[in-house]
């Protein structure tokens, strides 16, 4: 047993490319970090920005968002729309002071099993250096985690 920090990572992936790619990683017997939990979506276009925020609120230290390469979308244009949304979302989060190094966007095709392993390993290694995302978790669980601290902060505000 070690006390080393194990980052929790949630991966939002599209069914047609990255999910199949991650499957290939497994069938190719490539080993990669087990810190990641994979959520399968019909398309990157379906990955609502709120889901990413919910992941952080529920204790994740990092998020991977991945889908088909441009021009390879099963629904022709879902990833193009998603890309535009991420571009704006990312700049907004950065402006608010949310650490965008914790969100990793990627294109991984169904043939890129090795790229998936590499992506997860690099993300986990990066998060190990960044440490747990306590700032966000503390704000998200303000009421449920520490009732005494919550009361103290409330009182301080009213003084």
């Amino acid at each position: 047993m070690t006390n080393e920090f194990e980052p929790k990572v949630l991966a939002f992936v599209c069914n047609w490319c990255t999910y199949t790619g991650a499957d290939l990683t497994g069938t190719s017997r490539i080993k990669y970090a087990s810190n990641v939990k994979i959520l399968r979506f019909p398309c990157t276009g379906r990955i609502d920005f709120m889901l990413i925020l919910k992941a952080f609120a529920n204790g994740m230290d990092g998020v991977i968002v991945s889908g088909c390469h441009p021009n390879d979308c099963h629904y022709t244009s879902g990833n193009f729309h998603a890309r535009r949304r991420w571009m704006l979302f990312r700049s907004l989060l950065d402006f608010l002071g949310i650490d965008i190094r914790r969100i990793c966007f990627s294109w991984v095709s169904a043939a890129e099993g090795a790229k998936w392993a590499e992506l997860v390993n690099e993300t986990v290694a990066g998060l190990r250096e960044l440490g747990p995302y306590t700032e966000y978790h503390r704000v998200a669980n303000f009421l449920s985690d520490s009732p005494t601290e919550a009361r103290k902060e409330m009182e301080e505000q009213h003084e």
């Binding site: 920005f49 709120m50 925020l53 609120a57 441009p70 021009n71 244009s77 193009f80 729309h81 890309r83 535009r84 949304r85 991420w86 571009m87 704006l88 979302f89 990312r90 700049s91 907004l92 989060l93 950065d94 402006f95 608010l96 002071g97 949310i98 650490d99 965008i100 990793c104 966007f105 990627s106 294109w107 992506l119 700032e135 704000v139 998200a140 303000f142 009421l143 505000q157």
Partner: protein
């Protein structure tokens, strides 16, 4: 002012419009006035202090549904009218727009083409204050920005004045009223306030006229209009000036450039 009053009176008497949305004298700044009878038009005023965005009333169904509407429009009101037309929220022949020329003269605009032409002639009001603040926040470190916004948003008590003041926030059922699933916690806390602002700004991405009504409406003075301004800047930086093809998030270009997807 007599120009304006007589213009509105004749529009109302000819039944060209059923209601006029304009400004009257308020305690500090001019406030909105709704006139549906010619004899009430005497209280109307219109000058360069009338900067509140009246376009917000154009989508309030209880006020304008089925009616032909006249409106006093400043720069951002005109911009919002164009945006609302683009989203099929207004009917062209139901709207008469009164605006001010550079010399302060009353002008009547009757068609979409005329509004677009007028907007091209006008220059956007300076946003020096907003730009300076955005630069200042951009220059902070991530943790300083986080400290700044959590401090600011800790004062929010979820009155949703920012939503009510925004001409583009016209959904009849807002995401904060949906509780299956509950996307945003309904109580006021730093976290849920931030969630709400992120949602508000993301939903306005590329649709926002950057009028600043959200920030002006905030009763506790949280500078949320900076978020909108930053978003407007990001849209312009990434996708250029708005074109006729549609909203930035419902359209795309195969060669959109980003530098963060690996």
């Amino acid at each position: 002012m007599n120009d304006l009053i007589s213009q509105v009176q004749s529009l109302l008497e000819n039944k060209t419009i059923d209601i006029f949305i304009g400004y009257e004298k308020g305690t500090r700044k001019p406030r909105p006035a709704f006139v549906s009878k010619a004899e009430e038009a005497g209280k109307l005023i219109f000058n360069e202090n009338c900067s509140g965005n009246l376009a917000v009333y154009l989508t309030r169904k209880d006020l304008v549904e089925g009616k032909k509407v006249g409106i006093a429009a400043s720069y951002y009101t005109l911009k919002n009218i164009i945006l609302l037309f683009d989203e099929n929220q207004l009917k062209e022949d139901h709207l008469r727009i009164i605006t001010l020329s550079e010399k302060g003269e009353i002008q009547l605009l009757q068609s979409l083409e005329e509004i677009k032409q007028r907007l091209k002639e006008m220059s956007a009001p300076a946003k020096a204050d907003e730009e300076e603040w955005v630069r200042k926040i951009d220059a902070m470190t991530v943790s300083e920005r986080w400290a700044f916004w959590t401090e600011e948003l800790s004062r929010c008590f979820k009155c949703y004045a920012c939503r009510a003041a925004c001409p583009m926030c016209y959904c009849t059922k807002c995401i904060v009223e949906i509780n299956r699933p509950q996307w945003i916690q309904p109580w006021a806390s730093v976290f849920s306030n931030m969630d709400w602002q992120i949602n508000r700004v993301m939903h306005m991405a590329g649709r926002c006229s950057d009028c600043g009504a959200c920030g002006a409406a905030c009763p506790v003075g949280i500078p949320i209009h900076l978020l909108s301004h930053k978003m407007a800047e990001a849209v312009k930086e990434n996708f250029g000036e708005p074109d006729e093809k549609g909203n930035v998030l419902s359209t795309f270009k195969p060669d959109d450039k980003e530098n963060f997807i690996v």
